[in-house]
């Protein structure tokens, strides 16, 4: 046996990518510098809705160092003024006659350095005729509302209507229900704000006729296909490289106009072009998340059994439907909103609407609108408990899908793969001392103090997805892995997904280490270069482990099957006489006669049996049979300052179940990060516009990311319920905490105030908002 430890599944292997990052030797897009490179900067609209009367670049062009000014009129001649979105809409690259949101791209300047480019942006003269903006999606639907998109055939701001579930049955249950509760919930517009903004470096090499784009992309392969389709450049002449990415969270899934303009400029000018947006541009114009106006109802029996759920949502998509969803799911996976609870029926309807706001509808570290779904059900369950005078834990136990009901068919059509909800909640309640906390709360209440306990028992839906249902622009959402074992027993793995901090270079090496019995340190993982990595749809929606992780395991197993034949040849036995045990092929009944993968690898190049091809490699394009359904039980304890309205998270315990764990250290890190990104919109973050559609939260001065001071010391624990259909039993984890945390926090705050008749507060629960409630309820200090 090898002396170097394998350290496959379940080991807290230190990350293989870290040595370069801690030395400052990562390569992010803005670190790339090519000879003769020019800088592109963008002129943006000061109006949310206006006609463009004139663009005069002459002053800018006269400045030393300014090379070019590109406008929509020029792009139109090249057929590039518009580009398709992922949701069968189209989006302006640069406008030809009107702008439809604040900070929209209006023109681009190219100059010899970033400072000159920024100066030139100010020198481009644009004359606008302001038009009335439509900012409220409900008003946008009223007859006579100004049209956001007169370019469309349909003269309405309504984009689409989408439904799931059984309307008739749901309505019938509501009619006869003993108890009905209803609530409006607004889940505001927020922004992912990865600390690295978006950008690209584009180089067109005339000699080889090859276009290379280094791009902040979560999905380089899909982006290459889009670029090829839009530009007509053959796909093999385009190489997209996603180098080190400084956080993605969904914001680096879309194709932004800046990428397209920079590519156009590189082709036109024959010089490498760099475009890096600054933070304000990133916040003001890149794809937003959420912006769902939800009306939800639950029908229940008097003793607290949920019978049905009815939801109607108005989804504000801004000026273009540029959401990043699978094609058949304009509202993402929002219909998973029945959550962890068994009910007879549900009906969900969503209407997408245009407004004069930036386009988007991307995830914010979430799998296609699952956060909205989970927030809805987890709030509604608490509201029902309040209505019935039940404990929030008790009502959950009463309505959980029971372990023996899995695989569980949900009323909106999903098949949950596995779960054990009562065990996870019980573990959380025991660990945090729930009954004791309730006693403490009663005592504090008697003293006039405001303490709350919030529970969230969410089910996540990730790993899109099975090809029969999931595609993006027709491309099926499988994912891929390619493994090559070298003669001396080290290996290279190339995958179709793209890390932005999740640690793929480590976890995917661990999968191969486990499957092949090769030490993790002898395996390198590459991704993000479309010329070398196999085609895949990228990393978002927690899909890496469910799809490419499975592909990696299956590819490794293909290698193992070939290795069995070689081992049989070396041991002079029949392949059937061998079993794979303790990381080696052993002769059944004689386990000390064995061949390790390292020995087999050498033989694969030096001494393989007649009739077998040499080499040891395999490829897998994995089409998952189903999605995976991670879940968890979170408990949050808050104290509210009656003098300031400040919420203090005293304790937060997250018990997650993401199935089989590949690297517990990385899983825990993902949970810490996800919880923080869940707390952020619950307490701080919101994109706000004034009545003119001007964004008021366009910098980090007004859009508040949590610092270490506001972030509590998260506590985590786990249960393990493997996915029955994933080759490793793994489910994916990066986003569970982002969707599970907000309702736990809001439920805790509302719980602290429930005795005062407070039943719901929309997020973010800022001190100002909460203090106002304390004043109204007469408990402010």
């Amino acid at each position: 046996m090898t002396t170097t430890p394998i350290r496959g599944l379940g080991h807290p292997v230190k990350r293989k990518e870290d040595p370069r990052f801690i030395r400052g030797k990562g390569t992010y897009v803005d670190d790339i510098k090519l000879p003769g490179m020019l800088f592109l900067d963008i002129v943006r609209s000061p109006y949310a809705h206006a006609r463009i009367k004139r663009i005069d670049p002459s002053k800018a062009l006269a400045m030393p160092g300014v090379v070019d000014v590109i406008t929509g009129a020029e792009l139109e001649k090249a057929g590039l003024a518009w580009m398709p979105t992922l949701m069968s809409d189209r989006q302006m690259v640069l406008p030809t006659d009107r702008v439809v949101y604040y900070a929209q791209e209006v023109a681009a300047v190219v100059a010899t350095d970033r400072y000159t480019a920024a100066d030139a942006v100010l020198a481009v003269e644009v004359e606008y005729e302001p038009l009335t903006p439509v900012l409220d999606p409900f008003k946008a639907l009223e007859p006579g509302a100004p049209l956001v998109r007169p370019d469309r055939e349909q003269k309405t701001n309504h984009i689409w209507h989408w439904e799931a579930g059984d309307k008739e049955k749901t309505d019938r249950i509501f009619q006869e229900a003993e108890v009905v509760v209803s609530q409006d919930l607004y889940i505001p517009r927020i922004h992912v704000c990865s600390i690295e903004t978006c950008g690209c470096v584009v180089n067109y090499d005339r000699a080889t006729d090859k276009l290379t784009i280094w791009m902040t992309s979560q999905a380089p392969h899909a982006h290459r296909t889009v670029f090829s389709l839009v530009s007509g450049i053959p796909e093999h002449k385009i190489r997209i490289i996603s180098p080190d990415i400084g956080g993605g969270f969904g914001g680096k899934v879309p194709v932004y106009p800046g990428y397209v303009i920079a590519t156009y400029a590189a082709l036109k000018l024959g010089k490498p072009i760099k475009w890096i947006e600054d933070r304000s541009e990133n916040l003001q114009a890149d794809s937003f998340a959420r912006d769902y106006h939800i009306h939800a109802e639950l029908a229940a029996t008097r003793d607290g059994r949920i019978r049905a759920m009815r939801v109607h949502t108005v989804a504000d998509h801004g000026a273009f439907d540029a959401a990043a969803n699978p094609s058949k799911f304009p509202a993402g996976l929002f219909s998973v909103c029945t959550g962890s609870y068994d009910m007879e029926a549900a009906h969900v309807a969503v209407d997408g609407v245009y407004t004069n706001k930036p386009p988007g509808g991307v995830a914010y570290r979430c799998s296609f609108r699952v956060t909205e779904a989970v927030h809805t059900i987890e709030r509604m369950v608490d509201i029902l408990a309040d209505e019935l005078g039940m404990d929030p834990a008790e009502i959950r136990f009463k309505n959980f899908i029971r372990p023996e009901q899995f695989p569980y068919k949900s009323p909106t059509g999903w098949e949950y793969d596995s779960g054990n909800y009562p065990a996870t909640l019980q573990k959380a309640l025991d660990a945090i001392g729930y009954q004791e906390l309730r006693r403490e709360q009663a005592e504090r209440r008697a003293r006039g103090e405001l303490m709350g306990i919030g529970i969230s028992t969410f089910t996540e839906i990730v790993g899109a997805g099975p090809s029969h249902t999931f595609d993006i622009l027709g491309i099926k959402m499988f994912d891929s892995a390619e493994i090559r074992v070298h003669p001396t027993g080290s290996a290279i793995v190339r995958i179709g997904v793209q890390t932005q901090g999740q640690g793929h270079e480590t976890t995917f090496a661990q999968i191969v280490a486990e499957e092949l019995g090769l030490p993790v340190e002898n395996i390198i993982v590459e991704h993000g270069d479309t010329d070398t990595a196999p085609y895949g749809l990228g990393t978002y929606a927690s899909r890496s482990t469910p799809t490419a992780g499975a592909a990696t395991a299956v590819a490794a197993r293909k290698i193992r099957e070939k290795a069995r034949l070689i081992a049989a040849h070396l041991l002079e036995v029949s392949p059937d006489d061998l079993e794979w045990r303790d990381y080696a092929f052993r002769v059944k009944g004689a386990p000390d006669r064995f061949k390790t993968m390292q020995e087999i690898a050498f033989a694969a190049y030096t001494n393989f049996p007649q009739g077998l091809e040499g080499g040891l490699e395999a490829v897998c394009y994995y089409d998952p049979p189903n999605l995976t359904f991670p879940f968890g039980a979170y408990v949050c304890v808050v104290d509210i300052d009656r003098g300031t309205g400040q919420v203090k998270i005293r304790e937060f315990l997250a018990v997650d179940d993401c199935g089989t764990i590949i690297n517990p250290m990385i899983v825990e890190g993902q949970i810490h990060g996800g919880l923080t990104m869940g707390m952020a919109p619950a307490l701080f973050e919101e994109i706000v516009y004034d009545e003119n559609g001007t964004m008021l939260t366009g910098t980090f001065m007004d859009y508040l990311l949590p610092t270490a001071m506001e972030t509590p010391h998260w506590k985590t624990d786990k249960t393990v319920t493997p996915s029955p259909h994933h080759p490793l039993g793994a489910k994916g984890v990066g986003e569970s905490p982002t969707i599970g945390a907000p309702p736990a926090i809001v439920n805790a705050v509302v719980d602290a105030l429930s005795h005062l008749g407070v039943r719901h507060i929309d997020i973010p629960i800022t001190p100002a908002k909460l203090y106002q409630i304390l004043v109204e309820k007469g408990v402010a200090e």
């Binding site: 030395r23 400052g24 970033r114 600390i195 270490a708």
Partner: protein, 169 residues
Amino acid sequence: MERVPIQLTVNGQLYQAEVEPRMLLVHFIRDVLNLTGTHIGCDTTSCGACTVLWDGRPVKSCTVFAVQADGGEILTVEGLERDGQLHPVQEGFWEEHGLQCGFCTPGMMMTAVALLQENPDPSEEEIRKAIAGNLCRCTGYVNIVKAIQYAARKMRETAPAAAGIAGGE
């Protein structure tokens, strides 16, 4: 635009250059010296991705003009490792999984180095306060705190050897 001669010691090495007076120190470090470990994450002095040590004190290099630092000593992330030995803070971030995408990491580590020079045994509260000007979107800070605690322990154990490691030669 007129250019001004400046002279700076960065990671122990002397550099002379002529720069526009408006050039930010962070751009001087990244674009002129090609030390790209120092990052840029905002335009309002909020994120701390650009943090370097200037004469031993942490500053956000996006909010300093290169000409202001004339004659000064700058330490960037690239200068932390000495003779092939990682700085205890670098080691701590690796050991305790204190980074994910790595974008905030250089700035975060420079702030930590400065803290530990001043306070070799900080409490969790003191660490959180010290890094409050550095935003991390990935980690949720828990492991960053642990990483800095790891470094503090390590530096106390090897105190004589580690003394004066930060702040240039």
